[in-house]
């Protein structure tokens, strides 16, 4: 299926690869984004400010004082023809993130269990059993939308969002799961807490998670949570060490 090219006025050219949320689509988006970023870094995309990948498209943000949609279309045409398997492999990583489930750390865990007809222990096991793919970053700096949550754990968002969700809250809504990188309003169901900082603007890689990364959650005790939290805070543990080599 040929990509559709759409405009956000004179600000961005959107390359839309299809519709829906799926791992094959994520792979195609990631491949295209990698090709465009490589070209951008080489200096081959004059006037382009940045590329923004999402579930089924890559938006090419440009400066209308330095280029035009027409010039960009000509420039990217050969790049759109690069087959996915010839694209530079995105350096995606696999993470193992500790989570303290339930109690004060996960105030909605019991409600999720009740709604899905499972025990709390079963909900934790099924949430932690999956290997999630990071689909897209958005909503907040460093907020990674991950999927796919097991069908039996899928609930619509809370009918009443919270005005304050604690930073580090592990949450689910629909087929997605995420960790709130900072305190924020939020309508997802909070089932646990993760001590790992997901966004630090002064780091060379400000967001820890990137699209196409894989994430597994590891249930930990309160004691282990505190140990990891302390190790991260003191610098003894670098968050990057939680990625598999």
């Amino acid at each position: 299926m040929a990509p559709r090219l759409l405009s956000l006025a004179d600000r961005a050219l959107v390359v839309e690869l299809g519709d829906g949320i799926s791992r094959p689509m994520l792979a195609r988006v990631s491949a295209l984004d990698a090709v465009l970023r490589a070209e951008l870094e080489r200096g081959g995309l004059e006037g382009v400010v940045e590329t923004v990948p999402s579930y089924r498209s890559v938006a090419i943000v440009y400066d209308p004082l330095r280029t035009t949609r027409a010039a960009l279309e000509r420039r990217i045409a050969p790049l759109l023809r690069v087959p996915d398997d010839a694209a530079p492999a995105p350096a995606s990583r696999t993470w193992k993130l500790p989570v303290l489930y339930g109690g004060a750390a996960g105030p909605d865990l019991a409600a999720v269990a009740a709604a899905s007809g499972l025990s709390v222990a079963e909900v934790v096991a099924r949430h932690a059993r999956a290997t999630y793919a990071v689909y897209v970053l958005g909503f907040l700096p460093g907020f990674a939308y991950m999927g796919d949550v097991a069908p039996e754990l899928r609930l619509p968002r809370r009918s009443e969002p919270r005005t304050r969700v604690a930073a580090g809250s592990v949450a689910v809504a629909g087929a997605q799961t995420a960790i709130y990188p900072s305190e924020s309003p939020g309508g997802w169901h909070l089932i646990g807490r993760c001590p790992v900082p997901l966004f630090e603007p002064r780091r060379s890689r400000p967001a820890l998670l990137a699209p196409a990364d894989r994430v597994r959650f590891e249930p930990v005790s309160q004691e282990r949570f505190r140990d990891v939290e302390a190790a991260l805070a003191s610098g003894r543990l670098d968050p990057e060490e939680l990625a598999a080599p």
């Binding site: 405009s7 956000l8 600000r11 027409a70 958005g138 700096p141 603007p201």
Partner: protein, 319 residues
């Protein structure tokens, strides 16, 4: 830092933040561009202050802002629909907008309230603000940038490198205000709307509501019908300032500098970058009309607008 001039915020008004021309290259991390809602006025304020155009300045909304020089001499630049006055040793000197001002220790500058435009700028020559992710703009959602990632508060102190400051400067006359409708390019999801919706958007007057902020301007007026219930949402994709999102109730929201980086509402049209600042500075109650444009026309408007701004910057004179 004993050789820094210092400026204390006596009153920040309704909302005041440190902004520059925005943070680029970080939208992929979920970081908004932020930056001035009216970049041309920030650039003019900076140039009036003798500062580089793209440097950080204070953007303030709706009410008067008051600043006091605590230490050293501070050169400021004022832009927006504002009156200004300097209080010095019990005396008041009235100044207009679109000019510089110099504060000596103890002097107080009061600027505003901005009217009719809801936004004004005070630039400070030599303002020292840490750059985070390449910009001094305030990212409130991420709590970083500008003044500790938050709006300015009473008692905050801004630091500036000291003078000498040279002659005061001014624009010979205020910038001419365009009366043109706001140009917008249909799409990317104009195909999610019922027949007649685009014509309604381009043929109606909308009013800015009071819930408008730096993330978006919410409009009230003739609702825009989606093609069907399923068309009222999309798989979230990239949004940019200027995108006109339409949720289920049919009322358009024009996204602004602090908007999120992805969104799940269909976008019926996107405001041309040249015209977005004109819409962004409209106060609650103001009316908006849109006019249809093509991408090529929007790109040409951007170049025209930049030429106008360059001409304004070139018109700044010593007084």
């Amino acid at each position: 830092m004993t050789d820094r001039a210092r400026l204390e915020i006596l009153s920040p008004g309704v909302l005041a933040t440190v902004q520059d021309l925005g943070r680029r290259g970080a939208r992929r991390f979920g970081v908004p561009t932020s930056g001035a809602l009216e970049p041309a006025w920030l650039r003019i304020a900076n140039a009036l202050a003798g500062e580089r155009e793209d440097g950080p300045a204070v953007e303030f909304f709706l009410a008067e802002i008051a600043l006091r020089a605590v230490d050293g001499e501070v050169r400021l630049g004022i832009a927006g629909d504002v009156a200004a006055q300097v209080e010095r040793a019990g005396e008041r000197e009235a100044l207009g907008s679109w000019r510089s001002a110099t504060l000596r220790r103890g002097d107080v500058l009061r600027v505003g309230p901005p009217r009719p435009a809801r936004v004004g700028y005070v630039a400070i020559r030599g303002l020292v603000v840490e750059e985070v992710l390449g910009s001094a703009s305030t990212c409130v959602r991420g709590a970083f940038g500008g003044m500790e990632g938050r709006p300015l508060r009473r008692g905050d102190v801004l630091e500036a490198r000291p003078g000498p400051h040279g002659a005061e400067r001014a624009l010979p006359e205020p910038p001419r205000r365009s009366a043109e409708p706001i140009r917008a390019v249909p799409g990317p999801q104009d195909d999610h709307f019922a027949p007649g919706a685009l014509e309604r958007l381009f043929g109606s007057a909308y009013a800015v509501t009071a819930t408008s902020d730096r993330m978006g301007t919410r409009l009230d007026g003739p609702p825009l019908a989606h093609l069907g219930a399923a068309s009222a949402e999309i798989v979230s994709d990239a949004i940019v300032p200027g995108a006109i999102q339409v949720p289920g109730n049919g009322l358009p929201i024009v996204l602004l500098a602090d908007c999120q980086t992805i969104g799940g509402y269909p976008k019926i049209a996107t405001v041309a970058s040249a015209d977005l600042p004109r819409l962004a500075v409209l106060a609650p109650g103001a009316k908006v009309r849109f006019a249809r444009a093509s991408v090529e026309e929007a790109e040409a408007l951007a170049r025209e607008r930049e030429a106008e701004v360059r001409a304004l910057l070139g018109a700044i004179r010593p007084i």
